[in-house]
């Protein structure tokens, strides 16, 4: 286990190095000058030159990248070009919101996904299965920017049951909880559908396994056959899907954050890209990638508990 973690951390560092290079490189070759984004349309060439010099943008690529890496190694991820705020601070303010949103969406996704998937599998080929399969597929098919707008229209504006946007209140207050509902549904629907699908097919497969027949041959009750002899085995691939989806959710909050006026990392990222705020882009991409890897590491560790066959030396 320790070896696994150590190795993954090692791989993560390599990965981050790769990603940072990729991001840095792509921002470098992307058209659009950070200086003119700071200077605005009125800035004169002299203003811009001044800003560029100030930000070190006139140095050669490798010098800039080297400087970035050097600082990053020391835990300094630079300062936003726009706000001059430290990248760490800028992210620290937004990350809790993104995390909150991602976790809430995941809860929605897992609860709906598992329930729908199990119902489908256990009532295989019934109308319940058909309905839930159809809904699952529809869930994956809805563009979430559209879903979000529709939800706002119905539940916030017309019915006024839930607030339109924001995520400022703590989640344990009634207000904060209400704020989470619509965005969590918007973001979680796709994942719910994927989890439902995976649960269904995995259950269907496991139900046919020899050891389930063994359990029946022993005279085990049908309910126990399902909950003890099937579910845990069926969950193994589902856990992968959950892990991957959680990773994707963390990086996929962009549109939801935009629609629901949530101050999160996703929005920070697109704004930063639009403003050519390199340090912010770097910082947030690295964060999301790290989280992705960490989540998958956790999934791998969870595996060892669910599936005793898996051993990492």
């Amino acid at each position: 286990m320790i070896t696994l973690i150590v190795r993954r951390v090692g791989e993560l560092l390599l990965l981050l190095l790769g990603i940072s290079f990729l991001v840095f490189g792509s921002m470098y070759i992307a058209p659009g000058d950070p200086a003119s984004m700071i200077g605005g349309p009125t800035a004169t060439e002299a203003d811009l030159e001044n800003i560029r010099e100030n930000l070190g943008l006139n140095d050669p690529f490798l010098v800039q990248y080297g400087r970035y890496l050097g600082n990053a190694v020391q835990g300094d991820f630079g300062y936003s070009y726009q706000t001059k705020q430290s990248v760490a601070d800028a992210i620290a303010v937004r990350f809790p919101n993104t995390l909150k949103l991602a976790i809430a969406s995941m809860v929605v996704a897992v609860v709906i996904g598992l329930v729908a998937g199990l119902i489908s599998a256990l009532r295989h080929n019934s109308w319940l299965d058909f309905t839930s399969t159809t809904f699952a597929l529809a869930g994956i098919s809805i563009p979430n920017f559209w879903l979000g707008a529709l939800l706002i229209l119905v539940f916030a504006v017309n019915l006024q049951w839930l607030p339109v946007g924001g995520l400022s209140e703590p989640f344990y207050t009634a207000e904060g909880f209400k704020q989470l509902i619509l965005p969590a549904i918007t973001l979680g629907t796709g994942s719910a559908a994927m989890i439902a699908r995976m649960t269904r097919s995995s259950m269907l497969e496991v139900v046919r396994a020899d050891y389930v027949r063994t359990a029946r041959a022993k005279g085990v009750k049908e309910t126990k056959v399902i909950w003890v002899h099937t579910l845990k085995n069926a969950m193994i691939p589902v856990i992968t899907v959950i892990g991957l989806n959680f990773g994707f959710l963390l990086g996929g909050t962009i549109i939801t954050e935009k629609v629901f006026a949530i101050n999160g990392v996703g929005r920070l990222m697109i704004d930063a890209i639009a403003m050519r705020d390199f340090p912010l882009v770097q910082g947030s991409v690295l964060l999301v990638a790290t989280l992705f890897v960490v989540v998958n590491l956790i999934v791998d560790i969870v595996y060892t508990y669910v599936d005793p066959r898996i051993k990492y030396e």
Partner: protein
């Protein structure tokens, strides 16, 4: 916030409900903007969102009269102009910064020097580019000399980026996240990406505003913001999109304020390309684009005039309202036919924000109608700025908010030869025009300036160098519980006088 009367707003604030009799303090007032402030220091920022907040925290030496547009003293009490190059300002003596520091001549010098210092890399350093030297004459008198006579100098000083900051605060802390000014509101907190919170400055020289807590909230989707306005989560939004005006009008608890503005949206040609230097070509384009129809699409949020300098801008002359090539599809078709303009593909560059796409789509359709072969290229803002600056387009749409409301401030950056390669994205170069603009900038005689500007304006229209699509209308929509919003033609607004109805 919701007073005693019933409100349709589902409790947007948890402290809502506490009220007191009388004129009514406003416990919390929320404004929503679609993007976050870049920062809270006037010296280091140059964007309208930041300016909105800064306007409430800081003050400038001069300001514009909201109705007449005239420059009137604000922090300055009076000024003298002993010669063309010298400006002597008398500063009000009763002003203190929020941190208790008195505002005096030293503060002004400090602020301006900092703004000018190349090491600061201030984005708007060019505001004070003509300044040669700043000297403190006495506690409340400051003398500024310019390198050359500079006509729009006072307008520059009214610019929100020329607001006076507290030198003690600037040395002690980062004004970007922790601003200290002398305005009606005092900084409380800033959550990047989310909101800036201000509170009433009790020691404000004109008396503390009614709004006790003022929140600038970021709501990136304007539709969401409107929904929030509808549900009462937000009290005020500005820059209403023309597409949604009908919807906002239909909302019961919201009042819309409109005012003619200084901004101008226009079609520009890339004049560095010989094809575009063809006068007939520009004429054909101008004749093909039906600006009236377009302005009709704006649902009253646009002002139709050919004049490059709009009615609210210094330098405007009514006679230029129809001085450009009028819409004449037949003429356009004829010109296209005669000159074979349809043979080349014209790239229509546009940024993918605001009304630019709308203009581009309509213009493209109309130009196509006239026989041109136009391809729209939309770009995100950053790329657009670079691409336009480098002159990689045939036609584009540009806009100018003109915060200073001065014609020179429109012509010089946008169309003067000096600024090709930077803000002169049309790559326009015309010696005669340059001369007129220079004259308007260096003269301090306002009558004379008016004349120069009008001539320059005429020059542009005559040759269809600029095809004005519309002049902006400043808008705001506020919860109808409140009143006394001050909207300025340049898009700025002030909430310090807002009261409960």
């Amino acid at each position: 916030a919701c007073g005693g009367e019933s409100s349709s707003a589902p409790s947007q604030t948890n402290e809502g409900g506490t009220t007191e009799a009388g004129g009514g303090e406003i416990e919390e007032f929320v404004y929503a903007s679609t993007s976050d402030v870049a920062g809270l220091s006037p010296i280091l920022t140059n964007d309208s969102v930041s300016a909105n907040v800064q306007e409430h925290v800081y003050e400038t030496l001069f300001e514009r009269d909201t109705d007449t547009g005239e420059l009137i003293p604000s922090l300055a009490e009076s000024y003298e102009n002993p010669d063309e190059l010298t400006w002597i300002f008398k500063i009000r003596e009763d002003v203190v910064f929020h941190d208790g520091t008195p505002l005096n001549a030293e503060s002004v010098k400090y602020t301006f020097d900092k703004l000018r210092d190349p090491a600061t890399a201030a984005p708007r350093a060019s505001l004070l580019e003509p300044v040669d030297e700043i000297t403190v004459e006495d506690e409340f008198t400051v003398k500024i000399t310019t390198k050359y006579p500079y006509g729009p100098f006072l307008a520059s000083l009214a610019h929100s980026n020329a607001a006076i900051v507290s030198p003690t605060a600037d040395q002690a802390q980062d004004l970007m996240s922790n601003p200290v000014g002398s305005g009606p509101f005092k900084f409380v907190s800033y959550t990047p990406g989310d909101q800036v919170v201000l509170e009433a400055f009790e020691d404000y020289r004109d008396g503390a505003p009614d709004i006790k807590k003022l929140v600038f909230k970021v709501v990136p989707e304007i539709s969401t913001a409107i929904s929030m306005l509808q549900t009462g989560e937000v009290d005020f939004i500005d820059n209403l999109p023309s597409e949604q005006i009908a919807r906002i009008e239909s909302i019961q608890n919201v009042d819309i304020e409109k005012k003619d503005g200084t901004s101008v949206f226009y079609l520009a040609f890339n004049q560095s390309r010989p094809e575009n230097q063809d006068e007939n070509f520009r004429k054909a384009v101008a004749a093909a684009v039906d600006r009236d129809a377009f302005v009709g699409k704006l649902n009253g949020l646009g002002l139709r005039s050919d004049s490059v300098l709009g009615p609210m801008v210094f330098g405007y002359n009514e006679s230029k309202n129809a001085a450009g090539q009028a819409y004449d599809p037949e003429l356009a078709k004829q010109l296209v036919e005669e000159n074979g303009y349809g043979d080349r593909t014209i790239s229509l560059l546009t940024a993918n924000r605001d009304n630019f796409v709308l203009m581009a789509e309509i213009a493209q359709a109309q130009l196509t109608e006239a026989g041109f072969n136009v391809k729209i290229e939309t770009m995100e803002w950053a790329t657009f700025l670079d691409t336009a600056r480098a002159g990689q387009f045939d036609i584009t749409f540009l806009s100018w908010a003109n915060l200073t409301q001065d014609g020179s401030e429109m012509f010089y950056p946008n169309l003067h030869t000096d600024n090709i390669g930077s803000s002169n994205r049309a790559q326009y170069s015309n010696a005669e025009f340059d001369e007129l603009v220079d004259a308007s900038r260096t003269s301090v005689d306002q009558e004379e300036r008016l004349n120069y500007l009008d001539q320059a304006n005429g020059l542009l229209l005559e040759q269809n160098d600029v095809v004005v699509m519309y002049h902006g209308v400043v808008t705001g929509a506020m919860n109808s519980e409140y009143t006394n919003l001050i909207l300025e033609p340049n898009g700025k607004w002030t909430l310090k006088d807002v009261t409960r109805k």
